[in-house]
């Protein structure tokens, strides 16, 4: 039986020790951003059996809950600041869950400069899934967060990192049929699914150069479609330009149908950034200065707000369902 009081007292309170974060010793936290800074807020929930596998380790659950929110902030050009945590834990959860989960939160505090402002813990009846909702506060760049809505015809579409590893990794984690692959490739793909790696540090390059930006959580094509809809532009992407890891490339070479999973599968938590043509080189250079590789994968046009992905043969790929449905 999960001991909620003990978890709050021994695990969460030590994390909420910065000034203002009285959330686990009081009922309200005082939020004081540095002078002159505005706040941006993102909200993302992860649920067992939907966004992560029921058997996932507590530290990876905590890291995922934090990182899917960090990913939003990065794409908006905002710096992580702190968060509130809503945690629903099934009654049968082992007591060790609490300490391992909290240790991973503490580690994320160090990595991202976060503080825990407060939250709420509920023990839920058997049969209800574990659920972690985080409201993450970031420090807004001057001029406000970078929106989805600023893309213009002629702009260049960039992605950070490599695409598709997580979506293929989910197939590995679920034991779905895949081509024969070296063990290190399988490990790489599964690890990419289980631990998102948002491109923290890319914010200054995004703020300096982007017309529009968002993170890729529901699949490259589907999320690019959202930018198209918000901006009123079309987009044309070359599948051959989408950056792939060695593992993803080899997987798709062995079964080319899996390229659809790469492009629409989601869980990438990389940044999808639309930059005017005359700033493209500066954007890529600035990204590299901050330790991140970004790659141009296509351009925006003035057609209807749709995404066309072109295959190796120059023919449009057909994706009936561009949006990913999470299923852990």
């Amino acid at each position: 039986m999960f001991d909620e009081d003990k978890f709050i007292r021994e695990c969460l309170r030590p994390l909420a020790s910065v000034p203002g974060s009285a959330g686990f010793t009081d009922d309200a936290a005082l939020i004081q951003p540095p002078d002159g800074k505005s706040l941006v807020a993102t909200a993302d929930t992860i649920i067992s059996g939907v966004h992560f596998q029921a058997k996932e380790r507590p530290n990876l659950i905590a890291a995922r809950a934090i990182r899917v929110n960090i990913s939003d902030l990065v794409a908006k050009g905002a710096e992580p600041f702190g968060y509130l945590l809503h945690l629903s834990v099934p009654a049968s959860t082992a007591d060790e869950f609490g300490s391992e989960f909290a240790a991973a939160l503490g580690s994320a505090h160090e990595t991202y400069g976060l503080r825990l402002f407060g939250g709420d813990t509920t023990v839920v009846p058997e049969g209800a899934p574990m659920s972690i909702s985080i409201t993450m506060l970031g420090l807004s760049p001057e001029g406000g967060p970078v929106r989805r809505s600023g893309a213009k015809p002629g702009d260049v579409i960039f992605v950070s990192g490599e695409i598709g590893d997580a979506a293929l990794g989910l197939l590995v984690a679920r034991g779905d049929p895949l081509p024969e692959l070296p063990r290190e490739h399988l490990s790489h793909l599964e690890a990419s699914y289980r631990l998102p790696r948002p491109p923290v540090g890319l914010q200054p390059a995004i703020v300096a150069h982007a017309h529009a930006s968002m993170d890729i959580s529901d699949g490259l094509i589907g999320d690019l479609e959202r930018i198209c809809l918000a901006s009123g532009v079309s987009a044309r992407v070359s599948a051959s330009k989408v950056p792939l890891s060695d593992a993803a490339r080899e997987t798709c070479e062995r079964d080319p149908r899996l390229m659809k999973v790469v492009l629409t599968g989601g869980d990438d938590y990389q940044a999808l950034v639309v930059v005017p043509l005359d700033k493209s080189i500066a954007f890529a250079r600035d990204a590299l200065t901050h330790g991140h590789t970004v790659k141009a994968i296509g351009t925006c046009g003035d057609g209807p707000p749709e995404v066309v992905a072109v295959g190796m043969d120059g023919q449009p790929l057909d994706f009936a369902h561009t949006r990913y449905t999470h299923r852990g």
Copy 2:
């Protein structure tokens, strides 16, 4: 099958139309409190079968989710500002749920001066309960939110409104055995459980006079114990001074054992306010000016951080379990 896209597009987006609240059309909201104001944040989750009954109406679920957070803000002396919403909806939820739920949110916006900054909606598999987590932002009073920790020996303990109706109302809603009561009393008790009424407007009186304050969600005695623990004081409460509705009084007259439910049952969402003796009259007067009746129910002492509740006969009441476990 609940249509998440339609719900977001048709129900939530119209609510998120104020500047900055791009949460349902973008990935991050800009939070801009009025000049010179600091923010306070509270976080409360309500879950079907735990905090409300599975058959509860959508408008009352929405109102409850908002009000349990408003209640925290009021007790801290903060003014409601806006919120982020994490909603988990079982797949089988009727489509009408969305519009009724959102209409109640809209109505709460008017009542409390709220705006929806953003959030996250997830359709959860059958068997998972509906869950609503709200992170509520308020405007802090000067000097910061009123804490649990400022109570001093000799201070007077006040409560707003009437206590125990909701806890008795839960018994009514569950069909638990109760004494024979007039129908209007049963209706009053059940309505008090289903729709919390936090004492909005009491904030200036709390800020002007209180040493410590919190809302009563887990039962008067248990929550007062939290103030005692945070402040390092003892508390002595006279059960006969605890303000009761006619319905609660008649219920307890017919079955005096139910006084324990009144004092420890929870879900009151009234304010528990500790005020120095020389400000007691001014506090009660200022509360009345703002339309609220507050009642002195006891005093703080310099003993160990415990609560003693004294019955009509002057003898301490025995409450082995002072904290309420939510069960819808």
